[in-house]
């Protein structure tokens, strides 16, 4: 599978300009001799991340966005089939989400393969997502032409349980569209927030034997610099290619899905986890308080 990762630098709120820029990048990629199979773009690609109340003015319905992207891909000269991933603010009948679209574009048609709605909405410090957005309620893996995948948007991927569940559900590729405002100058070499991302993503790839594909938004938004740093990590934990924090870039890499089997055979942690997970999950200490009380009542002798 030939993968492209678009590290996009949007103009805040200017959807028309950002679509034109994305189309230009699509055209550049479509012109390569070896066609791309999958092109992944970051969270909030067409608008920028920090929108506050403007999110209601700049959200798309998933069908509308899918048609728009398919048309842009074709106009860019993409006559061949491609799968496109892109993070966007979603308007679903007046309920708003931070979502990511997985779209298949054929030579004359297109269809949505999956829409993931971000489940962990950061609402602390500089972040204020849950003030404006509703959270997704389900993490699903989904089948694509290249195998089973899952989408995790930004903070979704900071909770180790999320990639774990995605892998248990069969995902072989974790796609992580993200927008991460950089912070921390003490580490040396890279921002502390970037190093944290690299560490967690690499640990997921190794533990579960999955490819991790991270697409980071770039550019400054009101003083907050988005840290790009897009990267592709193989199931052995090796970073195959990565971009710097600043500026727009495209990563290009050929992925061998068969590496997943080799990695998992050598380090069968996912198999071990599948066996043990029911014992871990069906533990009444993990149940919400109200459910535990219900369980306790049910167990009382009559």
């Amino acid at each position: 599978m030939k993968l492209g990762v678009v590290q996009f630098k949007p103009r805040k709120g200017d959807v028309a300009a950002n679509l034109a820029e994305l189309e230009a990048i699509y055209a550049q990629l479509a012109a390569e001799d070896v066609p791309y199979d999958l092109i992944v773009a970051p969270e909030a690609t067409l608008t920028g991340y920090f929108l506050e109340g403007a999110v209601y003015e700049r959200a798309f319905e998933a069908d509308e966005l899918a048609a728009l992207l398919a048309a842009r891909w074709r106009r860019a000269g993409g006559g061949r089939a491609v799968d496109l991933v892109l993070g966007f603010y979603e308007n679903s009948g007046g309920t708003f989400y931070n979502s990511a679209l997985y779209l298949h574009v054929g030579s004359s048609d297109h269809h949505i393969v999956h829409v993931h709605r971000k489940m962990f909405l950061p609402t602390y410090g500089v972040f204020d997502e849950e003030r404006f957005l509703s959270r997704g309620r389900r993490l699903q893996a989904f089948d694509t032409r290249f195998g089973r995948m899952a989408l995790l948007i930004c903070e979704d991927a900071w909770h180790a349980l999320m990639p774990t569940i995605a892998a248990i559900k069969g995902a072989r590729f974790l796609l992580v569209p993200s927008a991460s405002p950089g912070r921390g100058l003490a580490a040396g070499g890279e921002l502390e927030s970037v190093l944290h991302w690299r560490n967690v993503l690499r640990s997921y790839a190794v533990e579960h034997g999955v490819f991790v594909i991270y697409a980071g938004l770039a550019g400054f938004e009101g003083g907050k610099g988005m840290t790009g740093s897009s990267s592709v990590i193989d199931p052995f934990g090796e970073t195959l290619v990565t971009a710097p924090a600043l500026g727009a870039h495209v990563l290009s890499v050929e992925l061998e899905a068969a590496d997943i089997e080799i990695a998992r055979a050598g380090l069968p942690l996912l198999g071990d986890l599948s066996a043990v997970l029911p014992d871990l999950l069906f533990d009444d200490e993990l149940l919400p308080h109200a459910v535990r009380r219900g369980v306790a009542f049910a167990e009382e002798p009559s």
Partner: protein, 283 residues
């Protein structure tokens, strides 16, 4: 037989060390994005006081935009130290940027002649606000953007004139403590005479910041760093700081929250600006 014990070092003063190369790269990108890409403005105007903060901003701006696209404005008042003027000159000469020297004495005195009883604090504020007026007007004249030079320490301690020093729309160093500005200054090659001298607002003769504040910047920065990270006073004192200096810093921060905000506006509707009607600055 005893087993060797490897004890963790007790927590001490926080390190404020930064990767200065990374900071420089990041802040140049910030300035280019804010001026060239977002605002389509290719020229920066910086009030150059002779101190380290404005010098660092001037070096960053020249790296980001080029020396021909940066105008340093020296704005002495008749009581300003001549050393300040010369220190600013050393920066201009080193950078080769454009420059202008505008003596603000006549403007300041033109108003203060009606207020002969004004004390040093009021006179200092009039000077700071006159400099703000000059910077904005020079920017309008040049089609440029004024760049702010306030550091995190003075912002937190409220040690600045409201709607004067904090007024430029873009500030690259406002999230760096003073001691971090010094580190960055050395990395950028700011002349040693500027980096090494005691910081001063130079609004009154022989004034120094550390005397005004009642604490050294190094101590203040360490305490501020812990305080902003959520440490209570007891835990800060337990790390080796004095009760009095912790109380002093806490008092200055908590007494000046208003200085870090826009004016308080009476809210009367469901569409109050910045309360209900929320749009980011770059939208």
């Amino acid at each position: 037989m005893t087993v060797p014990v490897i004890a963790a070092a007790p927590p001490g003063a926080p390190s404020l060390q930064i990767d200065t190369e990374l900071a420089s790269t990041w802040l140049q990108a910030f300035l280019r994005d804010e001026l060239l890409e977002r605002r389509k403005i290719g020229h920066a105007v910086i009030g150059l006081s002779g101190g380290v903060d404005s010098a660092v901003v001037a070096y960053l701006a020249v790296l980001a935009l080029g020396a021909a696209n940066v105008t340093a404005v020296r704005m002495p008042y008749r009581t300003s130290s001549s050393d300040s003027l010369e220190d600013a000159r050393a920066v201009i000469d080193d950078l080769g940027c454009r420059e202008r020297t505008i003596d603000i004495s006549a403007a300041v005195d033109g108003y203060l002649q009606f207020e002969p009883e004004a004390d040093g604090r009021r006179r200092g504020n009039v000077m700071a606000r006159t400099r703000m007026l000059v910077l904005f007007d020079q920017s309008a004249k040049l089609g440029a953007l004024p760049i702010g030079t306030g550091n995190k320490t003075e912002r937190l301690m409220g040690y600045f004139t409201w709607h004067a020093d904090d007024s430029p729309p873009v500030n690259p160093i406002g999230d760096l403590f003073k001691t971090q500005v010094w580190q960055l200054a050395r990395h950028l090659g700011v002349p040693a005479r500027v980096v090494g001298k005691p910081p001063s607002a130079d609004l009154e003769a022989n004034q120094t910041d550390e005397t005004d504040l009642g604490i050294t910047y190094l101590q203040a920065d360490r305490i501020l760093s812990l305080m902003l990270s959520g440490y209570g006073d007891d835990r800060i004192v337990a790390r080796g700081f004095g009760t009095d200096e912790v109380r002093l810093v806490r008092g200055r921060v908590e007494g000046t929250h208003w200085k870090r905000h826009l004016p308080t506006t009476a809210m009367l509707s469901n569409t109050a600006i910045n309360e209900f009607y929320l749009r980011p600055v770059d939208y």
